[in-house]
């Protein structure tokens, strides 16, 4: 989901002055994109809604600090990603992720024994949309976050590492493992021949 939301400067100026109607207009403009970023990173719609609320509380509290450098959506998206990652860290207490990750290999086995894909003819065509969505939902929250922020929202590994408080190589290895697992799940579901 690529979003380029343009908001009139006058609306931002009114929101910065504390005008509640302008703040609500900003909420209405960015509600769905924020929810989608959170939903793709987190496991449940309820968690995503909570992050939506936390994000906008932060937005209305700190919009005065937004000086107009960069796109407003970029600023809001960063807050949303940060809130979602905080929630993921809280959710990790449940310790379900470890089990999830242990079952995932970084590479898909080759038909000829080499690491990587499964050789000629193993992959062709785009995976079916619903299958991809289901497979994506089976990834751990951390893996989903890295994939979504990198591949869809266009964050660099450096930016993701900073947001997560991890290293660049952590972000890169998460992405590789997630793609390997996605590919394997899609193959298993017959989305790819």
């Amino acid at each position: 989901m690529t979003i380029s939301l343009a908001v009139p400067d006058i609306l931002v100026a009114r929101a910065r002055a504390g005008d509640l109607e302008a703040l609500e207009a900003l909420y209405r403009a960015f509600e769905t994109p924020v929810y989608n970023v959170a939903l793709r990173m987190l496991r449940t719609p309820e968690d995503a809604e909570d992050v939506l609320q936390e994000t906008f509380l932060e937005v209305v509290r700190s919009i005065k600090q937004y000086r107009g450098e960069g796109h407003l959506w970029g600023w809001i998206k960063r807050i949303a990603a940060s809130k979602a990652l905080m929630r993921i860290r809280r959710n990790q207490v449940r310790a379900t992720e470890e089990f999830d990750e242990e079952t995932v290999g970084a590479h898909v086995g080759h038909a000829d024994g080499a690491p990587g894909h499964e050789g000629p003819g193993a992959v062709a065509g785009a995976p079916a949309r619903i299958d991809l969505e289901r497979a994506f939902e089976r990834l751990s929250e951390t893996s989903r976050s890295v994939v979504w922020l990198h591949d869809v929202e266009g964050y660099t590994h450096e930016e993701i590492a900073e947001l997560m408080g991890k290293t660049v190589s952590f972000s890169k290895s998460q992405l590789a493992r997630a793609h390997a697992r996605l590919r394997r799940m899609l193959d298993a579901e017959g989305a790819a021949p």
């Binding site: 989901m1 690529t2 002055a17 504390g18 005008d19 509640l20 703040l23 609500e24 909420y27 209405r28 509600e31 769905t32 929810y35 989608n36 939903l39 793709r40 719609p45 995503a48 809604e49 939506l52 609320q53 906008f56 509380l57 209305v60 509290r61 970084a106 590479h107 898909v108 080759h110 000829d112 080499a114 690491p115 990587g116 894909h117 050789g119 000629p120 003819g121 193993a122 992959v123 062709a124 065509g125 785009a126 995976p127 949309r129 991809l132 969505e133 994506f136 994939v147 979504w148 591949d151 869809v152 890169k172 992405l175 590789a176 793609h179 390997a180 996605l182 590919r183 899609l186 790819a192």
Partner: protein, 194 residues
């Protein structure tokens, strides 16, 4: 035969692939197909359907913001009466007879504001049941006061010094809005017998 790993393919996508991987991709149809599948997977992720939240979370955000503003308003009222703030504000008022009049008037209207602030404490809407219409009216007035407070806070900014008369006018607007808010609360309290 050695093929590209998923790391090689992701690195290629980022223009960071090794010389070996770049060369291999030129000659290996299987790895090129794998790369194409990666691109298509990412394109499909970008095209996933947009979901909408089941519940509207704006009312919760708005109510929290209003409660915070009420608390800030009380703090602001108390702060504005402090000696330090008084001195700082008076410095913005031009010297001379007109300035002295402004300063006296400013102190009077600030005192009025503080008195109303204390009175409003008795009608804390967080702890009272109000009708939808009354709540909306009170909320609109509180938003107005918050906006005035925002303007008053700018007085401290070097780029926007207000003249004494303008400052008095702003404080008077604050008092007027607070008086209206007070009327709303008093009327509601009388109506429900509180």
């Amino acid at each position: 035969m050695m093929h590209c790993t998923i790391d090689d393919l992701l690195a290629f996508k980022e223009n960071e692939a090794s010389g070996w991987a770049r060369q291999h991709l030129e000659t290996c149809p299987a790895c090129r197909a794998e790369l194409e599948a990666l691109y298509q997977r990412i394109a499909a992720l970008k095209a996933l359907p947009v979901r909408r939240p089941a519940r509207d979370r704006w009312p919760a955000v708005r109510d929290t913001l209003r409660a915070e503003r009420r608390r800030q308003r009380r703090r602001w009222g108390a702060w504005s009466l402090s000696a330090a703030a008084g001195i700082a504000l008076l410095l913005l008022i031009r010297p001379g007879p007109a300035g002295r009049v402004d300063a006296a008037e400013l102190e009077r209207v600030k005192q009025q504001s503080a008195t109303l602030e204390a009175e409003l404490e008795r009608y804390d809407p967080d702890q009272r049941v109000t009708s939808g219409r009354t709540a909306a009216l009170a909320a609109a007035l509180e938003d107005r006061i918050a906006a005035i407070d925002g303007e008053l806070a700018q007085v401290g900014m070097p780029e926007a010094p207000l003249r004494g008369a303008e400052l008095v006018k702003l404080w008077q607007e604050r008092v007027d809005a607070m008086q209206q808010l007070m009327t709303v609360h008093v009327t509601r309290a009388a109506y429900v017998g509180l």
